[in-house]
């Protein structure tokens, strides 16, 4: 009896244990995104893409090597996801635990099964009538930030949301500013320690720009840095009269972060009104500048102004990229930025001093960057009612589409534009919520005014060009590079391109039907196969090599 009982008990215990084991296997908590993972950036196992630029450096350079220059022509599509909304992607998707987190136009967002492209959840924000929204240049969004099991997303009506990663439900909703006054937000948040860093768009609407940090748990604002100093603050006297109140200086492109120095690096937008500048005499700090802020307090550590008293709408809202490189035999911690104004800059990121400042497109308005770090401005390029022809054009030598950087080659890859424009200016009164540009630029056309572009590889230690891949018209695509020597980008005609990053030679292309715009592909590993994920138009397309077998993960 005892024996039978104990035998039975053993069976029961065994069964219970087995059951528990099953239960345990099913209930492994989804791994939380940790600050350490954010610090680690793009892992060599390719298991995640957790922020806008891949890592805090914004290098957008993947360590993955399964797809190579030799086999890239064997890429085949795995699936296509359609947004079923109006407007196009400008987003950088995130990948975590085989699930993609993607923001789209009109503040719709999704969690998508990375294996199949099937939707897991959708979030849609109820927006004010579009007539009330003031996003100047498209009702877009550039991507999520993530920490723990929370996603962070800015909204077109100038809010910051935290969403539950598992359900897409709103956890908290913080108001950045009143959208009816011209504020909007399209930037992908950057998560640093326990804070979510964002900025506001609206530089064409007479706003006063700022960068904010919010507590990731509660949504409470931790600090605010006004990109235009107020009365009594250093730099306020670089704005004539009360022009500082509506000087623009917006922030709509994600910055970089150096954990050692604990500094954030953000590029700041143009001063307003953009072209007619009589009302804002002075340098107009910190418009068109790179600012380095203490990540804990938002205090300004240093700034570098690329275009003092800008007259051409040349926001410095390009993606700053961090790297450590040797310049003239010295190891330097640098931040690099190919600017809309036509110059490529390498700055010392500990103090903001200029190391390299060289034109990377035809640039007519300035002779050079002087030893004092200021551009040496040439006469005859002030916009007026008759119009003044200047290179580059309003859209600029490049713009918000992210560049990439391959540290092993010491090369910076950027889609550059060779376009000039006639700039007009006229006096304009400020009306709250109205466009406040005081002029405009018109792309120059004609037989000797061909508008074209190229993917250019630049050595940041010298500013010299190593190679270029020319396009028939200017591209607005970002660039992704990989450790295997590939650059993935797109042209304006809708082609996805794979280019040898050592030589600039075209290796493979595919007509997507809509151009990559303002973003680049991302890459990650899924079940043993390297994936290239391409947001273009209203579709997301995942690509992998046709002849690599799947190794389904067992977890």
């Amino acid at each position: 009896m005892l024996r039978r009982t104990s035998a039975r008990l053993a069976v029961v215990i065994f069964a219970a244990a087995a059951c528990m084991a099953t239960l345990v296997a099913q209930s492994v908590a989804p791994p939380l995104v940790t600050t350490q993972e954010l610090l680690n950036g793009l892992a060599s196992d390719g298991s995640r893409w957790l922020m806008f630029g891949g890592s805090y450096t914004n290098q957008r350079h993947s360590p993955l090597t399964q797809i190579t220059p030799e086999n890239v022509s064997r890429l085949v599509p795995q699936w296509v996801f359609q947004t079923d909304t109006a407007g196009r992607f400008e987003t950088t998707p995130l990948l975590r635990d085989n699930v993609l987190y993607v923001t789209g136009p009109l503040n719709v967002a999704w969690a998508i099964d990375a294996r199949t492209g099937r939707q897991i959840w959708q979030y849609k924000r109820e927006l004010p009538p579009t007539g009330g929204l003031t996003a100047c240049c498209g009702l877009v969004n550039r991507g999520f930030g993530v920490l723990g099991d929370r996603l962070f997303m800015t909204t077109l009506d100038a809010h910051l949301l935290s969403l539950n990663m598992k359900t897409g439900a709103v956890v908290w909703d913080a108001t950045l500013e009143d959208y009816s006054k011209g504020y909007a937000a399209t930037i992908a948040p950057l998560v640093v320690k326990d804070k979510v860093i964002v900025g506001v768009a609206g530089g064409e609407y007479g706003i006063r720009g700022f960068i904010d940090a919010y507590d990731a748990k509660t949504g409470a604002r931790a600090w605010r840095f006004y990109t235009i100093p107020g009365p009594g603050e250093l730099g306020n006297n670089t704005w004539a009269g009360d022009s500082w109140q509506r000087g623009g200086a917006s922030i709509w492109v994600t910055g970089a972060y150096d954990p050692e120095l604990n500094l954030l690096y953000y590029g700041i937008g143009n001063p307003g009104p953009d072209y007619h500048s009589e009302s804002r005499q002075g340098d107009n700090l910190y418009s068109d500048s790179l600012v380095a802020l203490d990540a804990d307090t938002g205090q300004l550590r240093w700034h570098y102004q690329f275009t003092p008293h800008d007259l051409h709408d040349w926001d410095a809202t390009q993606v700053p990229i961090l790297a450590d490189l040797t310049v003239a035999g010295q190891p330097r911690k640098v931040v690099m930025l190919a600017n809309r104004n036509g110059f490529f800059y390498t700055l010392d990121r500990t103090n903001g001093r200029l190391i390299v400042g060289k034109p990377y497109v035809v640039t007519t308005w300035a002779k050079e960057i002087g030893a004092d770090g200021r551009p040496v401005i040439l006469p005859g390029y002030v916009p007026d009612e008759k119009g003044s022809l200047t290179c580059p054009d309003v859209t600029g030598a490049t713009n918000f589409w992210p560049a990439s950087y391959d540290p092993s080659q010491r090369l910076f890859f950027v889609n550059a534009r060779e376009v000039c424009a006639t700039y007009y200016a006229w006096k304009q009164e400020y009306v709250p919520g109205e466009r406040y540009t005081g002029g405009a630029g018109q792309r120059a056309t004609g037989p000797d005014m061909r508008a074209w572009g190229a993917l250019r590889a630049i050595d940041p230690a010298t500013g010299e060009r190593k190679w270029e891949f020319p396009y028939i018209s200017p591209s607005t695509s970002g660039v992704l590079t990989t450790a295997s020597g590939l650059a993935f980008t797109g042209d304006a005609e809708g082609n996805l391109l794979a280019i040898d990053s050592h030589t600039g030679k075209l290796l493979w292309h595919f007509q997507m039907g809509s151009a990559l715009h303002g973003t680049s592909p991302i890459t990650y590993m899924l079940d043993g196969r390297q994936q290239i994920l391409v947001p273009s138009g209203t579709t997301l397309t995942a690509w992998a090599l046709s002849d690599i077998a799947r190794v389904p993960s067992t977890r």
């Binding site: 579009t130 007539g131 002029g439 018109q442 005609e493 292309h509």
Partner: protein
């Protein structure tokens, strides 16, 4: 002086509100609403800049029409401010004229542009030019119809001319016919493709990218070609349209032809393609 600005702003805002409603309520074309900024010098100079930047590519720096119509004659032809406002705001269906929605284009932007256009537009229509339209139709049938369409007749190699009389000033059409106009319309750029065996395919370019080119050849065959399959793709400097100098078309014949073309207002023809 400041109160003047205040009053002006109130007037402008009130008018803008009125017109904003106008857009959505679809007030009929004979709406009496008048441009609140007409004659305002700041608005005119702002409108000139805005016009040059946003309209001149298609309508020309002088507003006499390039790809888009001559728009200096619109008031002379009896259109109202309100109707013109709606045309700019909503665009023209089945043509290249796009809508200009808020917030990118505010009500004030539109009124400024119209305030400027008014300053370069005659109040009354120009007297009709010389020439006999009926004779001109024969000239057209002999020389032009192989490539140009009017209504449901004619070729497709050149632009559809069913609305050309509304779109283009007489002088501009004369320059085009005599061959003194340098620019090509998008979709009609002349191109020559050379095949590996040396055969030449002439036509007009409909589209292209780094890897391919899409053309309509002179026999109206539409076809795409891979650049890799061709020896060369050359953009031609001269228009695909022949030059009709005085040797081919006398001044009198030209006047007749222009009289015919001026009558083509698109009213009796099928809508032109969306191209």
């Amino acid at each position: 002086m400041r109160w003047i600005y205040f009053v002006l702003i109130v007037v402008v805002v009130a008018a803008a509100n009125l017109l904003a409603q106008d857009v959505y309520l679809k007030i009929p074309a004979d709406s009496p609403a008048k441009n609140p900024l007409e004659g305002n010098s700041d608005a005119i100079s702002a409108g000139m800049g805005a016009y040059r930047v946003r309209c001149a590519d298609c309508h020309g720096m002088d507003a006499r029409g390039i790809r888009g119509p001559d728009i200096t004659q619109v008031w002379a032809r009896g259109r109202t401010d309100a109707a013109l406002f709606r045309t700019i705001r909503n665009g023209v269906p089945n043509t290249e004229m796009p809508a200009h929605p808020a917030p990118r284009t505010s009500d004030l932007d539109i009124w400024r542009i119209l305030a400027y256009l008014k300053t370069i537009s005659p109040a009354t229509a120009a007297a009709p030019g010389p020439g006999n339209a009926a004779t001109g139709e024969h000239v057209f049938a002999t020389n032009c119809i192989a490539c140009h369409r009017v209504g449901d007749r004619g070729g497709n190699l050149g632009p559809d001319l069913s609305r050309i009389g509304a779109a283009r000033a007489r002088a501009a059409m004369a320059r085009q016919i005599r061959g003194t106009m340098g620019s090509f319309r998008t979709g009609y750029e002349p191109v020559t493709l050379t095949t590996p065996n040396g055969q030449e395919i002439r036509g007009v370019k409909k589209n292209e990218d780094l890897f391919s080119v899409q053309v309509m050849d002179t026999r109206e065959r539409i076809q795409g070609y891979l650049r890799d399959d061709l020896r060369s793709v050359s953009d031609e400097k001269k228009s695909a349209m022949p030059v009709f100098g005085p040797d081919k078309l006398s001044d009198a014949e030209l006047d007749d032809l222009l009289a015919y073309l001026e009558n083509l207002q698109g009213t009796n023809a099928a809508p032109s393609s969306a191209r």
